[in-house]
C-alpha cells in the first residue's frame, strides 16, 4: 500500500494531544454555541478519520460539521460527566461504552436510519458490552501488544519477557496507566484480564513493582516515539501506534504475545443531550458506507469491522498481521470489561504504591 505522507507527519491518535491536554490547552470551540439545524458536533480521537470523510459528508448532506478532538477516553468521559456540552457523536472505546451505559449517558440508536448497518461484520453485531448493538456501532478495532526493534530483540514471545524478566532491563517501555499494565500482568500469569480478584491484583502489583527497576519508561502514550528514537527496544502499545512507527522504520515490528493481548473496539455512539440526533445517524450511516469505511481504514491504518469495505482495500492492508492478528491470537486475547469503580480505586492505589517506590 502506498503510504500516506500526511499521516506520517501526524502524531498518532493517542499521542501529542494528550500532552496538550495535560498542559491545559484547549483546541475546541464550545459546541453548544453551534447547536442548530444542519449542524453536527462530532467529537473524535485525534488523527482518526479519513482525509475527506467529513467534507464528503458535508457536501452530500448539507450539514456543517464541527469536528473536535480528544486524546483519550478519560478526557471524553470527564467532559461528558458533568452534562453533555453539546456533542452529537462520540467514539469511545468498549469499556468506556460500558461505563457510559451504566451511567446512562448514551442514547439508543435507531437502526432503521442506518441503511449501511448490514456492512458491519456479523462477528461485531453482538458484543458483551452492548448486546444487540442498541447503543453503539463499531468504528475500528485492534489490539494491545508489543512493538519491538527487530535487530535488538532476540526472543520475545511472552508477556513475562517484559513483565517478569531482566532480559531486556532498561530497554522496555510499559504503558502509562494502571489498568492496562495490570491487565497484561494478569495475562502473563495466564489469567483472564478481567479477573480482578484481590489475590490477582496483589500478584500483579508485586510483579510490576519488581519489574519497575527494569523498565525504562512508563510512557504517557508515546511508547512508539521512544521505540523510534532508539530509547527503548520494546514498547507495550496500541497496535495502530506501532504500525505508524513501522511505516517510518523497517526495523520495527509488532506482535501479540502467545498468552494473548487486549482486544479493543472504538464505536460510534450518540451521547445523551445530543441536539442533532438525525444528523448523527446520517454521519454513522456515511461512515459505515463500504467505500467511505475503506478510505478511513486505509488512511488511519486500524482494522475495520466493515465487511463490505474489504473489497475496496489492498491486500497488504488486509494481510498485515499487525492490523489483523491471526485467529489463534484473537482467540487468546480478550475484550476488556469495565472493572467497576471499586476495582478502579484499588488499581489506582496500587499504582500509586508502584510509582512511589524508589
Amino acid at each position: 500500500m502506498k503510504i500516506d505522507q500526511t499521516r506520517l507527519n501526524n502524531p498518532g491518535r493517542r499521542s501529542l494531544l494528550k500532552g496538550a491536554a495535560a498542559v491545559g490547552i484547549s483546541f475546541s470551540v464550545p459546541p453548544s454555541l453551534l447547536a442548530a439545524d444542519g449542524k453536527l458536533n462530532f467529537y473524535n480521537w485525534d488523527t482518526y478519520i479519513g482525509e475527506d470523510t467529513i467534507s464528503q459528508f458535508e457536501s452530500s448532506s448539507g450539514v456543517s460539521v464541527q469536528y473536535d478532538l480528544y486524546a483519550d477516553n478519560d478526557e471524553l468521559f470527564a467532559k461528558l460527566k458533568g452534562g453533555n456540552p453539546g456533542y452529537d457523536l462520540i467514539v469511545p472505546t468498549n469499556d468506556y461504552i460500558e461505563r457510559m451505559l451504566l451511567a446512562d449517558m448514551l442514547l439508543p440508536l435507531d437502526h432503521s436510519k442506518i441503511s449501511n448497518i448490514g456492512n458491519v461484520g456479523s462477528a461485531f453485531m453482538n458484543p458483551s458490552f452492548d448486546p444487540g448493538r442498541k447503543y453503539s456501532l463499531p468504528y475500528m478495532w485492534g489490539t494491545i501488544g508489543l512493538g519491538y526493534r527487530k535487530s535488538a530483540v532476540e526472543e520475545l514471545t511472552s508477556w513475562n519477557d517484559v513483565l517478569a524478566s531482566d532480559k531486556y532491563a532498561g530497554r522496555i517501555a510499559l504503558m502509562g496507566d494502571a489498568q492496562t499494565n495490570f491487565q497484561m500482568a494478569l495475562k502473563a500469569m495466564g489469567k483472564s484480564l478481567n479477573d480482578w480478584s484481590d489475590e490477582n491484583i496483589a500478584a500483579a502489583e508485586a510483579m510490576l513493582l519488581a519489574q519497575k527497576a527494569n523498565v525504562a519508561a512508563f510512557a504517557a502514550d508515546n511508547g512508539q516515539d521512544l521505540l523510534l528514537a532508539g530509547e527503548v527496544d520494546i514498547a507495550m502499545e496500541w497496535n495502530g501506534d506501532i504500525l505508524q512507527a513501522m511505516e517510518e522504520d523497517d526495523d520495527i515490528g509488532y506482535l501479540v504475545p502467545t498468552e494473548g493481548g487486549l482486544l479493543w473496539e472504538d464505536a460510534l455512539c450518540i451521547p445523551k443531550g445530543a441536539k442533532n440526533i438525525d444528523n448523527a445517524h446520517a454521519m454513522i450511516d456515511h461512515i459505515l458506507d463500504a467505500k467511505v469505511g475503506a478510505e478511513i481504514a486505509e488512511f488511519i491504518f486500524y482494522a475495520t469491522p466493515n465487511e463490505a469495505s474489504r473489497e475496496h482495500l489492498a491486500d497488504d492492508y488486509l494481510n498485515n498481521p499487525a492490523i489483523f492478528p491471526d485467529q489463534a491470537t484473537i482467540e487468546a486475547s480478550e475484550v476488556s470489561l469495565f472493572p467497576g469503580q471499586e476495582v478502579t480505586r484499588k488499581l489506582d492505589d496500587a499504582w500509586t504504591r508502584i510509582k512511589a517506590a524508589g
Binding site: 500532552g19 512508563f218 492505589d349
Partner: protein, 303 residues
Amino acid sequence: MDNWRRSPLTFAFFSLPTLGWLFIFFLFPLAIVWQYSFGENTSIVDVEFTGTLNNYARIFQPEILVLLWRTLWMSTISTVICLSVGYLVAMVIASASPRAKPWLLLLIMLPFWTNLLIRTYSLLNILGTRGRLNQALQWIWESTHSLLQLVGLEGLMAASYKPLTFLGTPFGVVFGLVYIMLPFSVLPIYAALERIDKSCLEASLDLGAGQVRTFFKVLVPMTMGGLITAAIITFVPTLGQFLTPDLLGRGQVDMIANVIERQFKKANDWPFGSALSLFLLYITFILLAIKSIHDVRQSRRVV
C-alpha cells in the same frame, strides 16, 4: 492616588475588575473544589457531599506521603538552583549598559514564546540516551581518548563511551523544572537589584569589606524581598508540575500532581483529587503567610 485611605471609593471602583476576576475564576471554582473534597463517590458520575473527612485522611497513606516528600525536596532543590543561577543572571542584567538591558531581558522572556509542551519535547531530544547531550559527551570522550592515544596513555579510560541516563531520573526532572522556572526567578531578583542604592555597595567596599562579604552582608539582605518573591513564584508552581515528571521523568519519578491528575481522569475519584489539590494549596498559603509576615516586618523597619 497616593493612599487608598484618602479615596476609598476611587480605590474600590478601580479594584472591582480585579476582585470580580478573582471571584469568578479563583474563589468560585475553589469553593467547588473545596466542596468536592468533602464528598463521596456514589456512582460512576455522582458525588454526594456528605462532609466526610475520609479524603483528607487518605492523604496520610504512606505512599502519598512518600510522593509528597519527593515533591517537596525536588521542588526545593529546583528552587535553590533557580535562585542561585537566577541571582547571577539578574546581576549581569542589572549591571549591563542601559542599551543592552532590554535585549537581555528579552532573552529571558524568549522561551515563553514557545509552548511549554514543545519545549519539554525538545528537552527529550537533548537529554535522551541518544540525545544531543550524550552525543556531545561522546564526542568529548572520544576526542580525549584519541589524544591520550597519541601520548600512549589510552589505558586511562575505556575506548567506548557509555551513554548516561538523564531521563527517568530525579536529575532529569529537576533539570526540566529548573529550565521551566528559571525566568520566573530572574525577574523579581532583577527588579530588586534595580531598586537598591548602588552607593551602599560602594560604601561597603570603601569601608573595607571584600567583594564576597559585600555580596552576602549588603547585597543579599537588601534584595531579600525580591529573593523571597522569586522563591515563592518558583517553588509554588513547581509543586504542581505533572507534565515534567511524566515526560522527563518517564513515569519513574512521579510527583504528587501526577496522582492528582489521575484522580480526575483514570481513577475517576474527584473528591480525593480535590482534597489532595487543596492540601497543596494549604502548603502554598503557609508560604505566602511567611512572605507577608516578612513584608510587614520589613516595612516596620523602614518606618
